[in-house]
């Protein structure tokens, strides 16, 4: 019941941003669809396949920063209102352990992001599959996985920075997140993260316990 109440509040905060993001995602995916359709109309299909398979050109790069933007905006929608006028204090006074509260918040935010990520992955598979064999569609999704992880990093980076009371520490969190993000966009072709991604995901999971620190510092400022 409490969890339901927490989720209700988070939904009220993020709903418009999330719906806006959904529209943005659908719009970008539609754009990708049209770009690919256009490509296949003006170029010979076998040439495009040659670019894609042999020259490793990523025809779906327009969506690469979409998850990152979404992660940051969801975090801003969730934690911006909590920080205005110190409303975070209202939540910290609830008869509930602070860490569980913050974890339920980020669980909700991550869930909202995951829905968008799932939409992206499925749509990418479907769109690429319209003009390419199945292998290429699978490859596109695998290539996009680090970008989806970028959404996770963006979300948690923004969350850390927003919950944190001290400006200097906020910069540190943003710096760490940017340093991590930069590692996720180093590709020169498809599927280059296949081997390293599990490790990066494991390290990105460290953000889950980490979000407790700024909340703790907010609560116990001295």
């Amino acid at each position: 019941m409490m969890l339901f109440a927490i989720f209700l509040k988070e939904w009220l905060k993020v709903r418009w941003v999330w719906l806006g993001l959904s529209v943005l995602h659908l719009g970008m995916l539609l754009y990708l669809y049209l770009v690919l359709r256009h490509q296949f109309r003006v170029e010979h299909s076998e040439m495009i396949w040659y670019w894609a398979f042999e020259l490793r050109r990523l025809l779906y790069e327009p969506i690469q920063s979409l998850p990152l933007i979404s992660g940051v905006l969801i975090a801003a929608a969730q934690f911006g209102p909590e920080m205005i006028g110190g409303r975070f204090r209202l939540s910290l006074h609830l008869p509930l352990r602070g860490d569980l509260l913050v974890w339920s918040w980020v669980a909700f935010g991550a869930l909202m992001g995951a829905v968008l990520a799932l939409l992206d992955a499925l749509a990418l598979y479907w769109i690429v599959g319209q003009w390419f064999p199945h292998e290429a569609a699978v490859s596109a999704v695998r290539t996009a996985l680090p970008w989806l992880l970028g959404g996770w990093i963006g979300y948690f980076g923004a969350t850390l920075a927003l919950l944190e009371p001290a400006a200097s520490r906020r910069l540190i969190y943003l710096g760490l997140s940017a340093a991590f993000l930069a590692l996720l966009f180093q590709h020169r072709g498809y599927q280059e993260y296949d081997q390293v991604l599990p490790m990066l995901i494991a390290i990105a999971l460290l953000f889950i316990p980490a979000v407790i620190l700024p909340a703790h510092r907010y609560r116990h400022r001295s």
Partner: protein
């Protein structure tokens, strides 16, 4: 006596500047206690410490028996907090905010919330962000009542309220307190409101000096006298004389002493002073008399 709030040897500072070094007082259970003090004496800091959003530099701050900055969830459920400016979730509607808070409190009294809020005549999906300060204060008070807390800490409830809503707030609060068993710790800028509400007052003065006494005692004992001075050496606060006010049209001095005691004191220490009549005091006059205008 059981204390709902007990502050002992509390020290707090920002950087190198100490707000107080050795502050002690207690708020007895079942009493309504007002914390009064001028701007900058650390009222807000003290409230933050009590609400648990600051850690004391030293000393203890116990609320319902637990350190204020490490309250267990069960104890937090027994404390109703009113944040400065009637802080609430602006993005929620009247119904949503009640639905949000309800599951967190076992003793939730929904009817108290709607009893208060329905008087506003607003629809239940009216957004809090679209309300006036006064309307929002009703919602916030309704939420605190519904929580049915044992202790209420009300930080500057009067902020932003006009006289009507202030009165309304007090009326509902008093009615709720009539049920008994509630402890209230309150701060306000509107001192005269306290007259009909509080049992005890705590005066917090610059540097952390504190004076706590029942309101009736304060009203009975604290006096103001007009005076004249032969020559140009007016008296000064000296322990018995609490304060001397030379800003008004007629100079006056404030004391807790009986008139006879004061007269003897003046005779010995300030012979140039000719004591005039005792002046009538409102609570606000008395407050200013004690704490000074500056």
């Amino acid at each position: 006596m059981n204390a709902a709030i007990r502050v002992e040897h509390l020290a707090h500072r920002y950087g190198r500047r100490f707000i107080y070094q050795d502050l002690s007082f207690a708020v007895p259970e079942g009493k309504v206690v007002a914390l009064l003090g001028k701007n900058g004496v650390g009222k807000t800091t003290l409230i933050r410490l009590l609400m648990g959003f600051l850690r004391p530099s030293a000393g203890q701050c116990r609320v319902l028996g637990e350190p204020s900055h490490a309250l267990s969830p069960a104890t937090r459920a027994r404390i109703g907090l009113l944040f400065e400016g009637h802080l609430a979730y602006d993005f929620m509607s009247i119904a949503q905010i009640e639905r949000f808070y309800r599951p967190f409190y076992r003793r939730w009294r929904r009817e108290l919330y709607y009893d208060l809020v329905d008087r506003l005549g607003l629809s239940h999906d009216h957004k809090i962000g679209n309300m006036s300060c006064g309307q929002r204060s009703q919602v916030v008070l309704g939420l605190i009542f519904a929580q049915d807390p044992d202790l209420m800490i009300l930080d500057d409830y009067s902020m932003g309220l006009d006289a009507g809503y202030r009165r309304l707030f007090l009326d509902y609060l008093r009615r709720f307190l009539d049920e008994g068993g509630k402890t209230v710790f309150v701060t306000s800028h509107v001192v005269q409101d306290m007259e009909a509400l509080v049992d005890e007052v705590i005066f917090l003065q610059r540097g952390g000096a504190v004076k706590q006494l029942p309101l009736v005692e304060f009203r009975r004992q604290f006096r103001c006298f007009g005076f004249r001075v032969d020559g140009n050496a007016p008296p000064q606060a000296d322990g018995l004389i609490e304060n001397v006010d030379l800003h008004g049209r007629a100079p006056c001095l404030y004391t807790f002493a009986e008139p006879a005691q004061l007269a003897a004191h003046l005779e010995t220490h300030w012979p140039q002073v000719r004591l005039g009549d005792e002046q009538p005091l409102t609570l606000e006059d008395a407050f200013i008399g004690l704490t000074g205008k500056y």
